[in-house]
Amino acid sequence: MTDDKTAGPALVLRDVRKHYGDVRAVDGVSLTVERGEFFGVLGPNGAGKTTLVEIMEGLRRAESGTLTVLGRSPWPRDLELLPRIGVQTQSSAFFTRLTAREHLATVAALYGTGPAGVDRTLALVGLTEQGDVRVDVLSGGQRQRLAIASALVHEPELIFLDEPTAALDPQARRALWKVLRALKGEGRTIVYTTHHLDEAEALCDRVAIVVAGRVVALDSPDRLVGAAQAPTRLLVPADRISVERARSFAGADRVTAEGGAVVIETSQAGPLLAALGAAVGLDGVRTRTATLEDIYLELTGSERDA
């Protein structure tokens, strides 16, 4: 028999459903996450992201549909599967009155691994100096990093992170990105819930946008942005051109004045830029292409207004 531990996708969901009363928290989700993939789960609060991820983690039971995690079913609680999964804990979930290092050593022991990974993991999330600090006096950002460390200490194959950078300052955030890229480099699979769309764009191989319990978009950030054909925005300093004159250019679909700039929306950025360059010069002209955030707002906005 071959070792099937690293074969097959990390996650396979087929028509997974879960409702609470009349609310369909997860309403027929199907998706596959490959091994080594960095997979983002995006969506407004209350869209069912958390329930969906908790079903994947084995904390909740799917009402219908099928679901395999690393080739096994996460429900009922599977003691052989659990050590292969790492979940970022809530930032409150620390053993009372222990130090950061003691907490992490306890978590490691709960996963049945030795204390060897403890100091390495503390260093990984930048908490080496806080190792002997009691968990109750750690700052918000430090608590969050310790919660992330709890997901990594036993070197799992599949890692679930929930808004991991929410309470971090920009430096710590970038440091964490580096850690996450390194984990991906080691071939680990990461499922990542976030509200930071720039982060999803920078890190994720693919993202699923969840609205009202359904996956409304699922692709790489690049392709999602490309497929949407959102207009490019050209920002010309206001002292260079008037709104009226900007409107006279071919391809200028919509022109507005915003702050110190005249903003031209266009679907033909190349020709328009060339014409602008010839007429007023390109010095100080900035271009804004659509980002994942634009796509996200488009996909989630209508649901919110409804």
Binding site: L59, L79, R97, E102, A109
Partner: protein, 251 residues
């Protein structure tokens, strides 16, 4: 390190680092000993001819041990669930049994220290407790008693979601039981209906077993009866606790 050992160590550290709770866990029964010991100093109970202290000391000790077991485990369970620590444990391959076993060992250790400290103080001439050679019979009774009250604590901790709720429910259970089981005054001096009522309360069996062991009236039969009574409560509440146990507050 096994999950059980790690949890025991974590619980131990959490306990000893909370000085206030440590102090009052051990001081609380002593305060009652001092109060009742001084009120009834040198007096004997007419019905039995035995000294008040021979009733009060085992009674207050049983109640103190039971109280510590109930509150300790109920608070911890409620807190671990509220802080999502149980969720964390749930995500590791740690069996629920290891979590409970670690709390059990801590509760037994706290009970042992409480008992030693309490009897040590009660032996002081001012209180005048005499400990008979049959005292080792108290050990199995204490173990069974802590088990039974731990099970009660588990039920409370599994249902109550806030510290206030734990305190309210646990007090509501433990304070009336202390009076109805004769922890603070000799049951022998009470009306017979009250003596009958006390037989359906676990504290009565703990009282009785320890009291007999310390006063030289214990033998295999009386100890087995006390232990059996406590075991019944342990089984009933243990079964209820397993049924009402929740990994998180939401579901």
């Amino acid at each position: 390190m096994s999950a059980y050992a790690a949890l025991t160590k974590a619980s131990y550290r959490a306990s000893v680092r909370d000085r206030t709770t440590v102090f009052f866990t051990f001081a609380f029964p002593l305060i009652f000993l001092v109060v009742f010991g001084l009120i009834f100093r040198g007096k004997t109970v007419t019905e039995s001819g035995r000294g008040y202290i021979d009733y009060i000391a085992p009674g207050v000790l049983s109640w103190g041990v039971g109280n510590a077991a109930v509150f300790g485990v109920a608070f911890t369970l409620m807190q671990w669930r509220r802080d999502d620590l149980l969720r964390l444990v749930r995500l590791t391959p740690t069996p629920l049994g290891s979590v409970l076993a670690s709390r059990y060992v801590i509760a037994l250790a706290i009970g042992a220290v409480q008992a030693l400290l309490f009897v040590g103080v009660a032996l002081l001439p001012v209180f005048g407790l005499r400990v008979d050679a049959t005292w080792p019979w108290a050990v199995p009774v204490l173990v069974c008693g802590i088990t039974a009250f731990l099970a009660i604590g588990l039920v409370i901790g599994a249902r109550a979601d806030t510290p206030e709720a734990v305190a309210a429910v646990a007090n509501c259970v433990m304070v009336p039981m202390a009076f109805l089981s004769g922890s603070f005054y000799p049951l022998d001096a009470m009306p017979s209906w009250l003596q009958s009522v006390s037989r359906v309360l676990p504290l009565h069996y703990l009282n009785d077993g320890i009291s007999k062991a310390l006063s030289g009236r214990a033998d295999l039969g009386s100890t087995a009866l006390a232990c059996a009574g406590l075991a019944v409560f342990a089984l009933i509440f243990g079964a209820v606790a397993v049924r009402v146990f929740r990994w998180s507050n939401e579901s």
